[in-house]
């Protein structure tokens, strides 16, 4: 198919515009490509001379910061497992059972979950966790996130399950499987892509969060990386940008890796209400 000259110019202009927007989006992040590898990095953009990994060694020498990465990991994995398991069960029930009032429950849950946001409900969440004696535990963060992320996760998954023909499980049950076996052996493998979406989405949300752990955790030994990043300040309280940059990069890696994984494995297709 030949292109007319105006169409060709149009294509070029479109590409240039898209590239320009891409550059504008990249600009604030450019600093993170250089500063972690520069032993003398400042707030300004500068190409490291020489490139070095010394910032990373210093960061790994700070056991509090390393512990915090581990804490982030515990909280994110714990939350992901809880959200994934509980949402799958609930979504399956919403899709495949005929409990009376199902529709109303669905509607109310969806309504509450959109209305009660973390920044609106921080006072009662603090008081509940405190009253339950869970203050300053990983469990507090995990449960709070699970509660907050669950409704959305359930609806995304229910849509997935609804789109799978019931005949899959029916034929298994005709062959003598119990409903529970049908769920685990037949349905679960089919809805796995949906679960991956939930897992990635929950992980990114918990991994990146600042406010909830900041309020619910008290001791340094439990703080996740999002809070520990503020430990890279000098004794007098000014930021040590070299270490901050290196730590930020390490802290961002799991999220970047997940993005690459998802876009390689599934294509970064859009799965709906990603991200609360």
């Amino acid at each position: 198919m030949g292109l007319t000259i105006p169409a060709f110019v149009g294509r070029i202009a479109f590409s240039a515009l898209a590239a320009l927007i891409g550059v504008v989006f990249a600009l604030p992040l450019l600093w993170f490509l250089f500063a972690p590898f520069n032993a003398r990095a400042e707030l300004g953009l500068a190409v490291p001379d020489p490139w070095t990994l010394s910032n990373f060694f210093t960061v790994f020498g700070n056991s509090y910061a390393v512990q915090a990465l581990w804490n982030s990991f515990i909280q994110a994995i714990g939350g992901v497992i809880l959200v994934g398991a509980v949402a799958t069960l609930a979504a399956y029930a919403l899709s495949r059972s005929s409990i009376p009032g199902k529709g109303a429950v669905t509607y109310i849950l969806l309504l509450f979950s959109s209305v009660v946001s973390g920044s609106a409900a921080m006072v009662p969440i603090f008081l509940i966790i405190s009253a339950a004696g869970l203050m300053d535990t990983h469990l507090a963060v995990i449960l709070t996130f699970a509660g907050g992320l669950l409704p959305t996760a359930m609806f995304i998954l229910r849509d997935f399950i609804d789109s799978i023909p019931k005949s899959y499980e029916e034929s298994a049950m005709v062959a003598g499987a119990s409903p529970v076996q049908a769920f685990f052996d037949v349905a679960l493998p089919v809805i796995r892509p949906g679960i991956v979406v939930i897992v990635v989405w929950s992980f990114v949300n918990i991994w990146g969060s600042f406010l909830i752990p900041f309020i619910l955790l008290r001791s340094d030994s439990n703080m996740p990386a999002s809070v520990a990043i503020y430990s890279f300040y000098s004794e007098a309280g000014t930021p040590i940008v070299t270490l901050l940059a290196a730590y930020s990069l390490i802290y961002s890696l799991p999220v970047i890796a997940l993005y690459l994984f998802v876009s390689w494995r599934f294509g970064f297709r859009f799965f709906g209400g990603i991200k609360a």
Binding site: S63, Y64, Q67, S130, M135, D136, I215, R218, S219, D220, S221, N222, Y230, S231, F232, Y233, S234, E235, A236, G237, T238
Partner: protein
């Protein structure tokens, strides 16, 4: 926040304690102090003197120091949330002015209620003057042991003043006009300087109220509360104070407006003084003891030669509080015990140990300061001896009121509104008035205009 490792160690110790009965008692101590950073001397003292000596005397104790490097207000926030949830360190440094609001909120308990009769029989109480004990006292009960008090003054950069043609060695202003005149002279000599730093704004927290607002307000003959303890919400003194801020930061740009507004403003103010941008800095003796010693981030190069100090003058001679020519204000810090501590007896043992003369003498050797105990000498520190002798007789204290902390936050907002140029002094004061009435109730306020 650079050294929170001990908290990590403590967490691990806590976890293992669940598994097997631990032999050692773990004690967790927090202060806003970091070796090499803020209050470095305090951190060195606890880490290198108190803890080793204490652990030697009590082999089954394991004490760890949490060096908190954030701002005062952040530590207050952390302690308030900690104490309200039964978490937090066993023993912590604590600013005396916060005691009423913490006590009323049920977050602190009298020492003898936490640790029992051992508190009342401590011999150290007798060595504390009544005034010192009052620093950590509320309604007749003691909540902590005071470490010492402080005074506030006007620091000068003698080199900058000399450049502006002022006799820096003998410069002692006797009115606000004297200060402004000196600042204008410096500004003239160095147009890109910001000669005055009088703390303002929300970001600096209590440092705005204590080192800024109070020092000016006392010079007008007023305080934050009147003699009966009612908060003054509208007065000529407040207006004069706010107009002074306006002159400095808005009308004549004699001060660094950005440093009052940005989140890291206090450090910027220290950096300005270090870099010779600011010539006149209102600060406490803390600035000399902890901020500027050699080797610290804001060390003033060649400090002995370039740093001077003057008494803070009243607005005009004799117009200060109680008719004084010069004014200052003191606060007090000490250490308190977390009422939710698992080891109250051990916490008290540590707290009293660190306040025995041997340990306090060790502290004086690291960093001389004005002590609370009468049986501990201030070693040879001309600066400290001179300032405390000159200023302690003039000093004032903050009201011992559970609402003071909240009102202080409103004071900070009021100064920020003026310094940013957003509100006129009159409007800012009107806003302050309605905010304070909302906090304490109209019956606890008084208008003098």
């Amino acid at each position: 926040m650079s050294n929170r490792l001990r908290a990590f160690a403590f967490g691990l110790a806590g976890a293992t304690a669940l598994a097997a009965p631990a032999l050692a008692v773990d004690l967790d101590v927090t202060c806003r102090c970091v070796i090499g950073g803020v209050n470095s001397g305090t951190a060195e003292w606890i880490e290198n003197s108190v803890i080793p000596a204490f652990e030697a005397a009590h082999p089954d104790f394991n004490v760890t120091l949490n060096q908190f490097g954030g701002e005062d207000a952040q530590l207050t926030q952390q302690l308030a949330l900690d104490f309200s949830t039964g978490a937090g360190p066993d023993v912590t440094a604590f600013d005396g002015f916060l005691i009423p609001s913490f006590v009323e909120g049920g977050l602190l308990k009298p020492l003898n209620e936490v640790a029992g009769a051992a508190v009342d029989s401590w011999t150290g109480w007798a060595a504390l003057s009544e005034g010192s004990r009052a620093l950590m006292e509320y309604q007749g009960a003691y909540y902590g042991i005071p470490l010492g008090t402080d005074v506030r003054m006007l620091y000068t950069r003698k080199d900058l003043l000399s450049e502006a043609g002022i006799d820096a060695d003998n410069w002692q202003p006797t009115s606000w006009d004297d200060i402004l005149a000196a600042a204008r002279a410096v500004k003239q000599a160095k147009p890109d300087s910001f000669p005055i730093q009088l703390n303002a704004g929300v970001a600096m927290g209590e440092a705005t109220t204590m080192q800024g607002y109070w020092l000016a307000l006392l010079g007008t003959g007023e305080a934050v509360t009147d003699e009966s303890g009612k908060f003054i919400v509208s007065s000529q003194g407040i207006l004069d104070t706010l107009n002074l801020y306006k002159t400095i930061y808005v009308d004549e740009q004699l001060g660094d407006q950005r440093a009052q507004l940005l989140a890291d403003g206090r450090n910027r103010s220290f950096a300005n003084f270090r870099d010779g941008v600011t010539a006149l800095l209102f600060e406490g003796d803390y600035f000399y003891r902890s901020v500027t010693p050699e080797g610290s981030e804001f060390a003033v190069p060649n400090r002995d030669a370039v740093l001077g100090w003057a008494k803070v003058p009243a607005k005009t001679p004799g117009s200060g509080i109680r008719g004084q020519d010069f004014v200052t204000i003191s606060g007090g810090t000490g250490f308190v015990i977390n009422p939710a501590t698992d080891a109250p007896a051990e916490a008290w043992a540590f707290l009293s140990f660190m306040n025995e003369p041997e340990q306090l003498a060790a502290f004086q050797a690291i960093q001389p300061r004005i002590t609370a105990r009468t049986d501990v000498e201030i070693p040879n520190s001309p600066f400290l001896t001179e300032t405390s002798q000159e200023l302690l007789p003039l000093t004032t204290a903050r009201p011992n009121d559970p609402n003071y902390n909240a009102v202080s936050a409103e004071i900070q907002r009021m100064t920020e509104a003026v310094v940013s140029g957003e509100l006129s002094p009159e409007d800012a004061m009107a806003q302050y008035k309605s905010a304070v009435i909302a906090i304490v109730g109209e019956e606890n306020t008084v208008s003098l205009l």
